[in-house]
């Protein structure tokens, strides 16, 4: 031991027992032995013992004491690798990975060949994706322990991750050569070979990969992967005949995998839809019960190529069987207007014939069951909902409900129709009714909760969810523990719409923490996968974790969080409260009503829960759930206080935290750059604004929201003096190439108006900017957007709501009267949309809700 603090033999033996106790998790005994050493006055300040005592305390959950002891131990013995290692482990358990790496490095200074420390260091490095460092450490491990196979695999993997494919392959190859006697069913060896093959493929060395695969065919036990890999390699190497044969064989194994059909099509070099259709026809004859060959042709068969016949066959079969998600299958076809017409004709025909003679067609021999008509109505309702004909959609769904009033699927569709028509309240009521028909169905329960959240009934939604969550704790807490992100992101969106920003942010931060947790969860796999040789899966896991925040839940959450933080920057909370009382959409009485309602609901919920609990307790004792998982290893999170969250001092800094992952992982998403602009605009960073605009324009030159960014940017640049010549030079040269029509915001805005004179969202964007540039133009700006009956395009609930918001927020000048008129106009056009309800109707709607059971 390099440390100069040597223990006597007796104490040394005790110290070894302390270490052993720690390893075996006998923490209390460990503390006992540590105490014995420290009680000897000669060693009462012994650094390593103090550090170990701290580490042991940490495992018992005494975080503060742990830090005290470990730090004290380290201070007493700065040259001990044990102390540094212990400090690193402590930091690691607190997720302070960067700090922990530093500690390990210090430890290695005093004992550079310590295997355990090197291993721990390599784990942290791969966790932090310090790939260069990881490679170095793995190299040292390889040199120290070349007879261990994990050393080789780890080193190869480091090179693979650094994209040094050749080196990775070489290392694996050298390792493979040492494996002289492979047993016939060695699955781990099979995985190694497949991983090696992956490396070759990723390096673009396709021929070598194919040869490798052929050479080791007998050793590769995962035959499915063997076939799939070989087929794709053959295809890429343009050995079409062989590729086709394998894909056909794969279809024999599983005729429901779409990818295999595409493989056959690619191998046959099918370019026309006819040639592709031939494949599906062929397979359909061979496997008449397979669904893919019946389903897929609908997508690429044009009306002249028998689309109608394919659709007819599929629809009849599905309606006969009563397959509720039939519409989901058809939905992709709605991009093609011709196909939509054909579908509509077909289904309407069925409905008429089924009604008059119980047959799909008069000439049919077979008569159909009455439920077939029911499913036909169900489908028609969804069809008309999809094409935006709310009235017809409601007619058909009501017709269906007259037929069978208790069919859950019908009520779900009815709720959807209301939702799409803009009436979240009726939608939620319908869903609630659907839910009441089968309270044991968690799917419908969740759907109902989601609709309630959309309607803003937060307490009711929680009560709904509580039917399925763990007892003895609030549903929101339990859902948070389960990382139930659909619930939390819906809540965040709803709270934002209600102006309860703190609550919304709380949900956003909770979701962000889930993502952090998922990232942390990979820690265990760094050692496990290497030993179990599940290398392909491990690499996939690492890559998945790297792109984790691409997930739609994160994108949605980040968007909400950033929008709120930007809003809070513009309207800090103190301001907002006053404004809320004055001119938020709700009057004082309405606010009071809402609060009353929520209080009532909460009371009811509590009573219900208490009753239920009592009942359940009586009913069964054996179904006791285990106590809450006391995972101390996880850092106790700071509790989130909505009040505090919405009063953050630096909202833009918080917003950037959510923006960063989007910038690196979703650079091709326009939304990312619009959000970036909103932040940097408020931070007065011209170059970063320019960057956002440039990237945004490279994705979509005609987006209306991006246009508002462009104009605000130009206005900002024109009105701001740039002191630094370099910044000025970059700005000017970049802008010159970006805006060929010049950089005068008024000119650019007028040009935009000329280019998109018929689209409501574009007109609104241009009008807002017109008013922003010159407040005298309010009247002209307003006249651009308030006509609804002309030949405008993209007139829908969303765009009209945006116009209404602009009028309400005086973004087009003061115009109280015009706001009211426009709202009435919209109400006529979209009678179901609550956004345009006149106040008296809204109040009625609310009281209805309250009376609802």
């Amino acid at each position: 031991m390099p440390s100069n603090n040597q223990l006597d033999p007796k104490e040394n033996a005790l110290f070894k027992r302390v270490l052993k106790c720690y390893e075996q998790k006998q923490y209390k005994n460990g503390l006992k032995f540590a105490k014995q050493i420290l009680s000897n006055p000669k060693f009462s300040e012994h650094g390593e013992t103090l550090a170990m005592k701290g580490l042991t305390l940490n495992c018992l959950g005494k975080k503060e004491d742990a830090y005290d002891y470990v730090k004290k131990g380290l201070k007493n013995d700065l040259k001990s690798h044990v102390c540094w290692h212990v400090y690193g482990l402590l930091q690691r358990s607190d997720r302070k990975y960067e700090e922990a790496i530093k500690c390990y490095r210090n430890a290695l200074k005093w004992d550079k060949d310590n295997l355990q420390i090197l291993r721990d260091l390599s784990l942290l490095q791969i966790q932090m994706r310090d790939l260069e460092g990881y490679r170095e450490t793995r190299y040292q491990l390889l040199v120290l322990r070349p007879i261990q196979r994990a050393s080789w695999i780890g080193y190869a993997m480091a090179h693979h991750l650094l994209k040094n494919y050749e080196m990775a392959f070489q290392v694996l190859e050298e390792f493979r050569k040492t494996q002289s006697d492979v047993k016939p069913w060695d699955y781990e060896h099979s995985e190694l070979l497949l991983y090696q093959n992956n490396v070759l493929t990723e390096a673009g060395n396709l021929q070598a990969a194919l040869d490798h695969l052929n050479k080791y065919e007998t050793h590769i036990l995962d035959k499915l992967v063997l076939f799939e890999t070989r087929a794709s390699l053959l295809l890429k190497l343009e050995m079409f005949e062989e590729a086709e044969n394998i894909y056909l064989k794969l279809i024999d194994r599983n005729p429901e995998n779409k990818a295999y059909y595409e493989g056959v099509a690619a191998a046959r070099r099918c370019e026309t839809p006819e040639s592709k259709l031939a494949i599906y026809k062929e397979i359909k004859e061979k496997y008449p019960r397979a669904s893919v060959p019946r389903r897929m042709p609908l997508i690429f068969a044009s009306p002249s190529q028998g689309f109608k016949e394919y659709a007819d066959a599929l629809l009849r079969r599905s309606l006969q069987k009563g397959i509720p998600p039939l519409f989901v299958m058809l939905k992709p076809l709605y991009q093609d207007a011709q196909k939509v017409t054909i579908l509509e004709e077909l289904i309407l025909q069925y409905a008429n014939n089924l009604k008059s003679c119980n047959k799909f067609h008069h000439d049919d021999d077979e008569t159909q069951n009455p439920t077939v008509l029911l499913w036909t109505y169900h489908l028609l309702a969804q069809h008309f909902d999809q094409i935006g004909d709310t009235v017809k959609a409601l007619d058909y769904i009501n017709e269906a409900l007259n037929h069978t009033v208790t069919l859950i699927e019908l009520l779900v569709v009815k709720a959807k129709i209301f939702k799409h028509a803009g009436d979240v309240v009726q939608a939620a009521e319908c869903m609630d009714e659907a839910q009441s028909l089968d309270t044991a169905d968690r799917f419908i329960n969740s759907k109902c909760a989601k609709y309630m959240i959309r309607a803003g009934w937060m307490t009711k939604a929680e009560v709904m969810c509580a039917k399925f969550t763990r007892e003895g704790m609030p549903a929101t807490e339990s859902l948070n523990e389960m990382q139930c992100m659909w619930y939390q992101s819906e809540c965040a969106a709803s709270y934002m719409n209600q102006g309860r920003y703190g609550e919304a942010l709380k949900k956003c931060v909770e979701i962000d923490r889930h993502f952090m947790q998922i990232n942390d969860d990979q820690f265990d796999f760094h050692t496990y996968c290497m030993r179990k040789m599940t290398l392909r899966a491990y690499i996939d896991l690492l890559r998945l974790e790297d792109r984790l925040k691409c997930h739609k839940f994160y994108v949605k959450t980040a968007t909400i969080a950033i929008s709120i933080y930007v809003h809070l920057h513009d309207h800090p909370v103190a301001d907002r409260k006053q404004k809320d009382d004055n001119d938020s959409g709700l009057s004082a009485s309405e606010l009071k009503k809402r609060k009353n309602k929520e209080r009532k609901a909460a009371k009811k919920a509590a009573a219900e829960q208490a009753a239920k609990r009592a009942e359940e307790a009586k009913k069964e004792h054996n179904k006791k759930l285990p106590p809450a998982d006391p995972d101390i290893d996880r850092v106790p999170e700071e509790t989130l206080d909505p009040e505090k969250l919405e009063r953050t001092e630096k909202p833009l800094d918080e917003a950037i935290k959510f923006l960063k992952p989007l910038l690196s992982l979703r650079p091709n998403d326009l939304n990312t750059h619009i959000l970036a602009f909103e932040i940097y605009f408020r931070r007065s960073k011209p170059l970063l604004m320019l960057q956002a605009i440039k990237k945004g324009l490279s994705i979509d030159t005609c987006d209306p929201v991006l246009h508002t960014c462009v104009i605000r940017f130009l206005k900002y640049v024109a009105s701001t003096k740039h002191d630094n010549p370099a910044v000025k030079e970059v700005l000017e040269s970049e802008m010159a190439s970006l805006f060929p029509n010049g950089v005068d915001p008024v000119v650019v805005n007028n040009k935009f108006l000329e280019n998109y004179p018929k689209s409501l969202p574009h007109l609104l964007a241009a009008a807002k900017m017109m008013f922003l540039l010159d407040t005298e133009t309010g009247e002209r700006a307003r006249s651009l957007v308030i006509g609804l009956n002309s030949d405008l395009t993209s007139v829908n609930i969303k765009s009209c709501t945006e116009v209404l918001k602009a009028l309400e927020g005086d973004e087009l000048g003061k115009c109280e009267k015009m706001y009211q008129d426009y709202k009435e106009l919209c109400h006529e056009k979209f009678p179901f949309a609550r956004a345009f309800f006149p106040p008296n109707k809204l109040v009625n709607g609310n009281s209805e809700v309250e009376n609802e059971p």
């Binding site: 080196m167 070489q170 050298e174 390792f175 370099a726 970059v730």
Partner: protein, 112 residues
Amino acid sequence: MADEDKNVEKDNENKGKKHDSGTADLEKVTDFEEEKEISPQSIQDAMKIVAEKQRKVNEEKLLREKELARVKVNKEDVELIMNEMEISRQLAERKLKEHKSDLVPALRDLLN
């Protein structure tokens, strides 16, 4: 009473097992893997090849780093980049060095 104490202690122990990140547990489960070792016959040759390659990689990297380290940068320029582009000092310095201390191209590079 004594029994109860024992139980409590046992419970604590069980909990203790859960507390650890699980890495240690996994290690236990897979301990036998550690035994699987390579017969040392061809290791010498294999190691030689690997070491040679690693050496080359290291040399190239060092050379590149040395070149960059020679470039001197203006502290004010670094701070301007940090402030305008909101990036770390490390990255700002590196970008500036890659562009031979020329501010405008460095900014332009970061912009695109």
